[in-house]
C-alpha cells in the first residue's frame, strides 16, 4: 500500500520533470530563433489582438478589485485613524501583486487559450508540418512573435490595469468611505515608491513569457482530433494560471 503510494508520487514527479524539461526546450528553441529572424508584422498583429481581446476584461477586473480592496481597507483604517494611508496601501497592493497577477490571469484565459486553440488546430491539420516542409521553423514563425507580443503587452496592460485599479479605489474612498480626494491621492506618493510599480512590471514580463510559452506548448503537443484541441486549451489555461501564482510568490520574495 505504502509502496504503491510512493510509486504514484514518483511517477507524478517524473512526469512533472518531463513537462518542465519539454517546456524549457520549447522556450530555449524559441529564444534561439530570435536572432535568426523577427517578423515584426506578426509581432504587431499579435500585440493588437492581445490588446483588443483583453482590454475590456482588464478594465472591469481591475476596477472592481480596486473598489473591493478599498472597501475592506478603508473601514478598518478609518477606525484606527489611519485614513491617510489608504491610497498608499491600495497602490502598493495593486502595483506589486494584484495588477500583474490579475492581468496575467486574464491574459492567460483570453489569449493563452486562443493561442493553444489556434496552434493545435494548425497541428492537427498538418499546417505546422507544412511550415517545416517549406523550410520555416515553427518556433520562429509561431512562438517568437507570440512571446514578444506577450512580453510587451502584458506589462503595458498591467500599467493600465494598475491605474484603473487605483482609480476604482479612489471612487470608493471618496464616495463610500468619505476620504477626500486630496488625502487619497497624496498618500500614494507618500507610501508607494517607483519599485512597487517596476517590480510588478518585471513580474508582468515573466507572466507574459509563461502565457505565450505554455499557450504554444500545449498547442504543439495537442493530441490528434478535434477533442484534443479542447482538452489542450483547458490544460493550457489551467497550467498557465497555476504557474503564474507559483512564480508570483518566488518573484515577490526576490523583488521585495
Amino acid at each position: 500500500m505504502f509502496v504503491r503510494f510512493l510509486e504514484i508520487i514518483g511517477a507524478s514527479v517524473l512526469e512533472l520533470l518531463y513537462f518542465i524539461g519539454d517546456v524549457m526546450l520549447l522556450f530555449i528553441g524559441a529564444v534561439k530563433q530570435m536572432p535568426v529572424k523577427i517578423r515584426l508584422r506578426h509581432v504587431i498583429h499579435q500585440m493588437s489582438h492581445l490588446g483588443v481581446d483583453t482590454l475590456p476584461i482588464v478594465s472591469l477586473t481591475m476596477m472592481f478589485t480596486g473598489m473591493v480592496m478599498t472597501l475592506q481597507v478603508a473601514n478598518e483604517f478609518i477606525k484606527m485613524g489611519a485614513e491617510s494611508t489608504v491610497g498608499g496601501i491600495i497602490a502598493i497592493a495593486i502595483g506589486r501583486e494584484l495588477g500583474p497577477v490579475l492581468v496575467g490571469v486574464v491574459a492567460a484565459g483570453r489569449v493563452g487559450s486562443a493561442m493553444t486553440a489556434e496552434i493545435s488546430t494548425m497541428k492537427v491539420t498538418e499546417q505546422i508540418d507544412a511550415l517545416r516542409v517549406m523550410g520555416t521553423n515553427p518556433l520562429g514563425y509561431l512562438v517568437v512573435p507570440r512571446m514578444l507580443a506577450c512580453m510587451i503587452m502584458v506589462p503595458l496592460l498591467t500599467v493600465y490595469g494598475d491605474v484603473i485599479g487605483v482609480v476604482g479605489g479612489w471612487g470608493v474612498a471618496k464616495y463610500y468611505a468619505g476620504i477626500s480626494s486630496y488625502v487619497y491621492v497624496n498618500s500614494i506618493p507618500e507610501y508607494a515608491v517607483l519599485n512597487d510599480l517596476t517590480g510588478g512590471l518585471v513580474k508582468a514580463v515573466v507572466f507574459g513569457v509563461v502565457i505565450a510559452v505554455l499557450g504554444c506548448y500545449y498547442g504543439m503537443k495537442a493530441p490528434e482530433g478535434a477533442e484534443g484541441v479542447g482538452k489542450a486549451t483547458t490544460r493550457s489555461v489551467v497550467s498557465a494560471i497555476v504557474v503564474i501564482f507559483m512564480l508570483n510568490v518566488l518573484l515577490s520574495m526576490v523583488l521585495y
Partner: protein
C-alpha cells in the same frame, strides 16, 4: 535521386515500417500504393525529414537525411515540395498568401514579382484569379490544387504527393492526375505519389511500389507490376484489398 536503405520506423512498440529498401531516380514518377494504415504517409514523411526513422538511412543525392538536424534539412527542403493529404493550407491566409509563402520567407523578391509568380502558378493549376479567396471558401479539389501551386511556387526538384486525389470525385481525380503529369513534364521534377487509387497509379507513374503492413512487397515498372503474381498485389489490382482494415 533518393535512396532508402534498410529503413524501419516504430511509434512506441508499434512497428510501422519494416526494413524498406527503395530507390527513386531523378525525373521519374513513383507511385506508392497500399491499404489504409500500411505506412505510406509515414514513408513520405521520412523522405522529407518530417520524422526520423528508428533505423536505416535515407540518401538525398549524397546526403543522409535520416538524422539530419532541422536547420540543415530546412535548406534541402527549399528544393522539395509537398502536397499534403488534407492540403494543409494556412487557413488564416488568403490563397495568394499561401502560394507566396515560401517566396516571402526565403527570397527578397518585391511584392510585384511575387504577385506575378503567384498568378502564374495559380493559372498552371487551373485556378486563375483566386488570389483573394480564403481556404475555407474552397472545395476539396480546389484546396488540393492550391496546395500544389504552393508546392511548385519555389521551383522544387522533388514533389511529394500524399493521396492527392482522395476524397475527390472521378472527374476531379482525373484533373489532379493530369496536373501531376503535366507538372512532371514541364518542370522535369521527380515525383513521389502516395495513393490507394490503382487507376491513378497506373495512369501517372513510371514505376509502382506497394507497401503491405509496413513491408515493401513489390516495386516495378507499371507494365511489369500488372503481371506480378503475388496474391496481395493481385488483390490490390482487382481492387479487393484484403488488409487489416480493408
Amino acid at each position: 535521386m533518393i535512396k532508402i536503405e534498410n529503413v524501419s520506423m516504430s511509434f512506441g512498440d508499434k512497428k510501422v515500417l519494416d526494413n524498406i529498401n527503395l530507390e527513386i531516380k531523378d525525373g521519374e514518377t513513383l507511385a506508392i500504393i497500399g491499404g489504409s494504415g500500411s505506412g505510406k504517409s509515414t514513408l513520405l514523411r521520412l523522405m522529407i525529414g518530417l520524422d526520423h526513422p528508428t533505423g536505416g538511412k535515407i540518401w538525398l543525392r549524397d546526403k543522409d537525411i535520416a538524422h539530419m538536424p532541422e536547420k540543415e534539412l530546412d535548406e534541402l527542403r527549399l528544393h522539395m515540395g509537398m502536397v499534403f493529404q488534407y492540403s494543409a493550407l494556412f487557413d488564416s491566409m488568403t490563397v495568394g498568401d499561401n502560394v507566396a509563402f515560401g517566396l516571402r520567407e526565403h527570397t527578397d523578391y518585391g511584392e510585384e514579382k511575387i504577385a506575378e509568380i503567384v498568378k502564374e502558378k495559380l493559372e498552371v493549376v487551373g485556378l486563375p484569379g483566386t488570389e483573394d479567396m480564403m481556404p475555407g471558401e474552397l472545395s476539396g479539389g480546389m484546396k488540393k490544387r492550391v496546395s500544389l501551386a504552393r508546392a511548385i511556387a519555389f521551383g522544387p526538384e522533388i514533389i511529394f504527393y500524399d493521396e492527392p486525389s482522395s476524397g475527390l470525385d472521378p472527374i476531379m481525380t482525373d484533373k489532379i492526375d493530369e496536373l501531376i503529369i503535366s507538372t512532371q513534364k514541364r518542370l522535369g521534377v521527380t515525383s513521389v505519389v502516395v495513393t490507394h487509387d490503382m487507376d491513378s497509379a497506373i495512369h501517372i507513374a513510371d514505376r509502382i511500389a506497394m507497401i503491405y503492413e509496413g513491408k515493401l512487397i513489390a516495386v516495378d515498372t507499371v507494365d511489369n507490376f500488372r503481371r506480378i503474381e503475388d496474391s496481395r498485389v493481385r488483390a490490390f489490382l482487382r481492387g479487393l484489398y484484403i488488409g487489416k482494415e480493408a
